[in-house]
Symmetry: C2
Subunit: 432 residues, 2 copies
């Protein structure tokens, strides 16, 4: 089937999926979890083929690890599906209800987006996670995985699509794309696809953001800052910097740049530097940093770099204002932290830092859907519209305005025969 037909099928499936009851969707999710267990041997065999081919091609051990999908991963994705079943249905919530006039009632009710285009690299578990998130939120999904996981993705998509369909979900609710050409084509199908969710390298995300007019949910860079203010508790600051930098270096919410107020730089940097060295962190610094600790010079490019590694760039600045300007100018609007005992400084930082997540006196690593208590994470968004920061299921829904009348006409209001009441109703949508 060509891309256009796949997209049209997905759109027609989405309409039917959008009216499935919570019970039906949860039953389908259970069926998918069972099918993944029942077909475990085939799935693991397919994954072994991908792993063997990747090893032969000399792929890096880190990529091989992400590619691996054995018993442990299967158990993990099944647990993920069980938690997803337990979450409330994001569809059908009455967000607002207003009486426009006697017998004319307006309801704003959440509904699925429609068709989600998902592009991900190397981790086959992402396929299970995103397809079940889409099902729970009533969205059809077009998936494209990395070619190195081709066999694993094929069997997973086949098992999940079939189990969902047997449990009553519409034909075409999940479809797997096979080629890059299909992805390019998909990016232009704005009449069929409502949201693109890329998960992978900065390059992948940037390429997609720049090559589609469809909304894209995600983030390219995670250039996160910790700013240590003049009024910081320096022992707390040291721990926060170490946790933000070293607790897990290869993730988007790890800190890449440390900004230090000049008033505390001399007191703060030497001890921090000793600890960073013990943790194996390579440190780069601005001239003012180099005047205090003997580190390599940071170039301007370092302020724009997401190392995703044991590397930290340090800049000493004379004011909070300049720290905020640095963050807004060089950062990626993802997660930024201030350490300070001065609540006025925190207030300025909260107000003026233009990032999805702005933190005071805690680690940047808290920026995560599970830690935020969202239950499930679709991704982390640095968009300014729709959804920002860690995004749960509510990022996959929008709303409709439903208006129930008894024959009301606009001419009556335009000509003053009737008046709007515009009274808020404390009521959920129902047909009665």
């Amino acid at each position: 089937m060509d891309m256009l037909h796949m997209a049209a099928l997905a759109k027609s499936a989405a309409v039917k999926l959008g009216v499935q009851s919570s019970q039906a969707k949860n039953a389908a999710l259970s069926a998918i979890a069972s099918a993944l267990s029942a077909r475990a041997e085939e799935i693991i065999a397919a994954n072994r083929r991908d792993l063997a081919a990747a090893e032969q091609a000399g792929i890096a051990p880190a990529v091989l690890k992400r590619l691996n999908f054995g018993e442990a991963k299967l158990a993990e994705v099944r647990r993920g599906i069980e938690s997803l079943i337990a979450l409330p249905d994001p569809v059908g919530k009455t967000l607002q209800a207003t009486e426009l006039d006697d017998g004319l009632e307006l309801y704003q009710v959440s509904c699925p987006l429609g068709v989600i285009g998902m592009i991900f690299e190397s981790r086959p578990d992402a396929l299970v996670q995103i397809s079940t998130l889409c099902l729970k939120s009533g969205n059809a999904v077009l998936l494209k995985g990395g070619s190195e996981a081709r066999h694993t993705n094929q069997i997973l998509a086949q098992v999940i699509a079939a189990a969902g369909q047997e449990a009553g979900m519409p034909c075409g609710w999940l479809q797997l794309l096979e080629s890059r050409a299909e992805v390019s084509e998909m990016l232009h199908l704005d009449d069929y696809i409502d949201l693109i969710v890329p998960r992978g390298s900065n390059e992948l995300v940037k390429y997609i953001q720049q090559n589609t007019s469809i909304a894209v949910l995600g983030h390219a860079d995670g250039i996160c800052h910790v700013y240590v203010d003049a009024a910081a508790d320096l022992s707390m600051a040291r721990q926060i910097v170490l946790d933000s930098k070293t607790q897990y270096v290869s993730v988007c919410n790890a800190a890449e740049t440390l900004l230090v107020h000049e008033a505390v730089a001399e007191a703060f940097l030497p001890e921090l530097w000793a600890e960073l060295q013990r943790a194996g962190v390579r440190v780069l610094g601005c001239p003012a940093t180099q005047a205090i600790i003997p580190v390599e010079a940071a170039s301007e490019q370092d302020w724009r770099t997401e190392y995703l590694d044991y590397v930290l760039a340090i800049r000493v600045l004379p004011t909070l204002t300049e720290a905020i300007e640095h963050i807004n100018h060089y950062g990626s609007h993802h997660t930024d932290v201030i350490v300070t005992a001065d609540s006025q400084a925190a207030a300025s930082f909260f107000g003026l830092v233009d990032s999805a997540d702005v933190f005071w006196n805690c680690s940047s690593r808290f920026s995560d859907g599970y830690r935020f208590g969202l239950g499930a994470e679709v991704g982390i968004s640095t968009n300014k519209v729709h959804a920002r920061g860690p995004v749960g299921l509510e990022g996959l829904v929008i709303y409709k305005w439903l208006l129930k009348g008894q024959g009301q006409l606009v001419a009556d209001y335009a000509q003053g025969r009737r008046k709007f009441t515009h009274r808020a109703l404390d009521r959920k949508f129902s047909l009665e």
Copy 2:
């Protein structure tokens, strides 16, 4: 100043505008209303120059009418500003609050989008309306109006920008673009501009949607349907069709296509046709319609046409399902109406019609921010993300996640020394 510098200035203004208090923004809005009165003569004189040039160029009377900006329009936009001042501030609302752990509190707080790019045609009052909506919601704005209103737009932008700035709003909060080349450039400045709002012809909106990866809020077509079900009250249906079609024909929420269930077509169409003729509506129909009333043939292209005129295309269909499929296939996902006494038919229509506004037993013309009670209307969106249907001030805001801690580190949770509580807090964000 070139476009890139204008955009950079707007972005830096947006950061400062985002933290203005409600009082300061309302004071600036009052100052703008006063300045518009104080400078009325200059504004009206500039508008006369535009009108004279347009008349000389032989521009259509309808366009001339929209271009006119005299005492009456000035009074109208001033009244608009007064109502805007009375509306609640959409910025700084706590949308959600969660205790992640003792002393670690997460707040989701509404904030401005940042920089809005606004492109509008011919009506200078749109300049006043959108710039004041942006100010109220804390957004900087880059405006481009139609060239036929050049002088009016220049004086209005100058008066409004200066009055806002004198009242304490940051320099660059409102800037006027002068050329089409600047618009083309603006559409590529996704690092600076957070949302594009086009207001004008279908062609303008489509051009913009297809030429930017920045989010666009708006709608191109308004191909709205009224579907008269087998179980409709035919007298109610007749009135709803007439109001939806003729109450104001040149607007996006007027009906363009009538769908009729075949079971009631013979009883319904002849009397309706008589009334449509009295109202001066030209009627086109499918073969089944033509078998009942002597009207011109509708082509497939008619189902995709937004007439914005006294023209109605009629199609008779055998089932509700086919009516829904027609709407989802040919419509523009704007506003669609079912007339029926059967609540199960209404339930299917509400669930399966993929439109921003889905109405039951009332006119399509209710699809409007003021009629919906939103207080102010930014526009009507047929997007699936961010904001859908009539959009009020809340379409110009997003949110930040603010996390207040006391030195918490992720390592403590990862290693099981501490556990998340994830307890909902019934509390607004504050620094204490």
